[in-house]
Amino acid sequence: MDARTAEPLLEISGLKTYFKTDDGTVRAVDGVDLAIGRGEVLGVVGESGCGKSVTAHTVLKLIQMPPGKINDGRILWQGRDLVPLDLEEMRKIRSKEIAIIFQEPMTSLNPVYTVGEQIAEVVREHEHASRREALDRAVEMLRLVQIPTPERRVHDYPHQFSGGMRQRVMIAMALSCNPKLLIADEPTTALDVTIQAQILDLLGEMKERFGMAIMLITHDMGVVAETAQRVVVMYAGRVVEEASVEELFDRPLHPYTQGLIRSIPRVDRAADQRARLEAISGTVPSLLDPPPGCRFAARCKFATAACTQAAPDLREVEPGHKVACILY
């Protein structure tokens, strides 16, 4: 299915999420546009502080307000704007329509309830189900995410699970109400590589089964290459490039994306390619007082005087390939 022609499931436009701090206003998300089609896997990549997690958390209003504030923009969920909704209305959307899993499952599971009780609570919040039915659903969900002996483990507490198993519990909980979109915020970052592979496989299987869309937030270009269909690259609070995953790795256009791809050591290339890594010099600018113009200009090899004057718009330079850079 072509996500661009059909109505998108989620369409974020001009989103600005700012945080008030003692030092001034941090412009964590500063004019982000992105869309996800039904059943699509969208990767959102970028380094620490690029605003990828804040964007995702803003969709579900999981940011503290104050100090956070949605200063501008729209978040259209199946055509309906989520920005003006109050907490009560948001609660009907969370888990039921849009669910989220986090990097560190221990911080999002309640340590004093069994995992069964926690999954059952989500089910009962959104569906008319008896306690018994909800607990049966919890067992069924744990079985789906391949936790051994689910009818026993449903009575265990979060600390009795390993990191990888806890992430499976989170996935079971997130999918228990059959959401249309799953936001996965660095779901495998805290896990070892063999466990990461298991969880990524599981997410793929769950997508086949439930047909939900996934917004995968990650800093790992390898994870995004193996999982996503389309990719949005963020830098310092803005989207700098968007393309299909093949196009992005074949022909990255933005100098930041190019630098990012070249700076990764590659395990799949045999040891004879011992090229020196191409580092991007300098560091990410402060979002307290971001530079005018393109935020990557100070680190960019191709920057000209024009780059520091006006921020480049995200423009479609080829069908399905957008970039925010005056070179194109």
Partner: protein, 324 residues
């Protein structure tokens, strides 16, 4: 063959688990279980493995930041396990460490100048205040920082810059061996590349030897000449970087390599899916530690007999009953 700079022989480290109101030893965690390897001057040996494999404990035992339970650690012909506190202090000039978390490993109340200069004073390497200052500036410039950074505090620096400070501190005493314990894991990829390049430059310039501990196999492949793979306290394979990555022999190494996601969406790779998780090091499995998850195991051999590290090819050693 010339004598290696470092030779580790049957290194063992058990951590006691205390319990009950009397604090008696109730159990032991077998963190490092008879690990042996050599490290030649000027080379970079990677030590890889997942959480709990014992790689960091091995690195710390080598510096005697943790006291080994048993085994020998020969450095330039001396067994450092037997050294007393005074001799050990002198040895610290030759062996240094860089930590993963540059936030936790720098004293927040000390200026960068004091942090980098401290070792110069301890080892009496600079006679006057001026000499110390000159040497500190030189070190900061070596790692890509400047003289103006000397009077600032760690919190004023980014993660990548802080790691540079940690490297300058390690270099201050002109060491021969640096144990790099996950030195780039906490950094973003673009910054990670800067630090990896710096480590490579410094090695060339000062003839350093690195023991590079990391869980990121791509980084290790890039920087290391030889790689040792650990699983649950034991060394399962050791080979040149090229051999290990192109012709892995141990089934665990194969699975580990195949699990690394690569930034090439068109590549269709065959992933070896490992069942289950790393077992508990308090009660490790009998025989080969990997046998319960191994796709090629043969019972009862693999579950009863511990495989010894044996030579499979020139410089390529593997601990598996069925391979090599």
């Amino acid at each position: 063959m010339t004598q290696p700079l470092l030779r580790v022989n049957d290194l063992v480290k058990n951590f006691a688990l205390k319990g009950g109101i009397l604090g008696r030893i109730v159990d032991e965690v077998h963190a490092v279980d008879q690990v042996s390897f050599d490290l030649s001057a000027g080379e970079t040996l990677g030590l890889v493995g997942e959480s709990g494999s014992g790689k960091s404990t091995t690195g710390r035992c080598i510096l005697r930041l943790i006291e080994p339970t048993a085994g020998e650690i020969w450095f330039e012909g001396r067994d450092i396990v037997k050294l007393d506190a005074k001799e050990l202090g002198a040895l610290r000039r030759d062996m240094q460490i860089i930590f993963q978390d540059p936030y936790a490993s720098l004293n927040p109340r000390m200026t960068v100048g004091a942090i980098v200069g401290e070792a110069l004073i301890i080892h009496g390497l600079a006679k006057s205040r001026r000499a110390i200052e000159e040497r500190v500036v030189e070190l900061l410039e070596t790692v890509g920082l400047g003289a103006d950074h000397m009077r600032r505090y760690p919190h004023e620096f980014s993660g990548g810059q802080r790691q540079r400070i940690g490297i300058a501190r390690a270099l201050a005493v002109s060491p021969k061996l640096i144990v790099c314990d996950e030195p780039v894991s906490a950094l973003d990829v673009s910054i990670q590349a800067q630090v990896i390049n710096l480590l490579e430059d410094l090695q060339k310039e000062f003839g350093l030897t690195y023991l590079f501990i990391a869980h990121d196999l791509s980084v290790v492949e890039h920087i290391c000449t030889r790689v040792a793979v650990m699983y649950l306290g034991r060394l399962v394979e050791i080979a040149s970087s090229r051999d290990l990555y192109t012709r892995p022999l141990h089934p665990y190494t194969e699975a580990l390599l195949s699990a690394v996601p690569v930034p090439a969406p068109r590549a269709k790779r065959q992933r070896i899916r490992l069942e289950g998780e790393v077992p508990n090091p308090i009660n490790p499995p009998t025989g080969c530690h990997f046998h319960a998850r191994c796709p090629i195991r043969q019972l009862p051999l693999c579950s009863t007999e511990k495989p010894q590290l044996k030579r499979a090819a020139d410089g390529h050693w593997v601990a598996c009953h069925l391979r090599g």
